[in-house]
């Protein structure tokens, strides 16, 4: 949470990117405590690795520093705090932490736990659900990654304008 506050207040964007990497690493540790080992590994690799590299690359290309705000930040702060208070009040209806009898743990998951070994000889339940029981969603996800890659390649192909020229470049950005 301290890291989060530092990200909000920090104006130097390089510091923000480094703090975001630290934040991802801490998030991966919290996920480990929640017994989510696959998710923690992915979050650590993606958040502290690839995300930070891409943010640094974008920062190098834009070379910016955040400006102080001109208009007062009171209204967004009130809105955000209001939404937060409403959400906290709503989460009190959720079941207490760590129980096994909650509805989320009752309906589909016992079937997966009992039948994964029998159906496909695989020990890792998360991989079994991801690749077989819910394989269609994973196909959609791979398609999303592919689409994002294609989108970025379309946007950033070519050299772009020289970094010394500012303002609107003539015609389209670069050559293929």
């Amino acid at each position: 949470m301290i890291v989060t506050l530092a990200i909000v207040r920090q104006r130097n964007l390089f510091g923000v990117v480094v703090l975001a990497g630290v934040y991802s690493f801490l998030m991966a540790s919290v996920l480990m405590v929640y017994d989510a080992v696959d998710v923690a590994m992915t979050e650590a690799a993606v958040g502290a690795g690839v995300s930070t590299v891409l943010l640094l690359a974008a920062l190098h290309l834009t070379k910016a520093r955040e400006y102080p705000q001109a208009r007062p930040a009171a209204i967004p702060l009130l809105v955000a705090l209001g939404v937060g208070a409403a959400l906290i009040w709503a989460t009190y209806d959720l079941p207490a932490f760590g129980l096994a009898e909650t509805p989320i743990n009752q309906h589909v998951v016992p079937y997966y736990i009992e039948n994964a070994r029998k159906d496909m000889l695989v020990g890792n339940l998360v991989a079994a659900i991801l690749a077989d029981y819910r394989g269609f969603d994973t196909l959609g996800e791979v398609t999303v990654v592919f689409t994002a890659g294609i989108g970025v390649l379309l946007l950033l192909k070519g050299r772009g304008p020289r970094s010394t020229s500012r303002g609107i470049p003539p015609g389209d950005g670069g050559t293929a």
Binding site: Y23, M27, V50, L77, I113, V144, I168
Partner: protein, 121 residues
């Protein structure tokens, strides 16, 4: 003491909501676009926590089948969040590409300056 016990049963959700509110505040209140994307990342990771926290069972183990253990934490949220993490990084990458092109077109990535320049044209 019922209220206090209720609070301690739910305080992990309170922490998650605090992170979510911080991310939301950055997205709506700060004008710099890269900072907005970092705020979006904060928001996304708090949503991951919000989904995985109810799946944990106290006394259970990570959901890898093993003869020694019988109680496993719920693997279904892990699967959904794994997808969400990868989609999140795809979103951030596309957002950064768009920010780079905006910077090349306008020379700045502050929202106020871009609006002012649009009004002048």
């Amino acid at each position: 003491m019922e209220g206090l016990k209720n609070f301690f049963d739910h305080y992990n959700y309170v922490a998650t909501i605090v992170l979510m509110v911080a991310g939301l505040y950055i997205v709506i209140a700060r004008g710099n676009m890269i900072k907005k994307l970092v705020g979006l990342m904060l928001f996304q990771t708090s949503v991951y926590l919000l989904y995985i926290a109810p799946g944990k069972i106290v006394g259970g183990t990570p959901p890898v089948l093993d003869p020694n253990f019988t109680v496993y934490s719920n693997p279904l949220p892990h699967v959904l969040i794994l997808t969400a993490i990868v989609v999140g990084v795809a979103t951030i990458a596309l957002g950064l590409a768009i920010v780079t092109r905006i910077h090349e077109a306008y020379g700045t990535i502050e929202e106020d300056e871009i609006f002012a320049r649009e009004e002048q044209e």
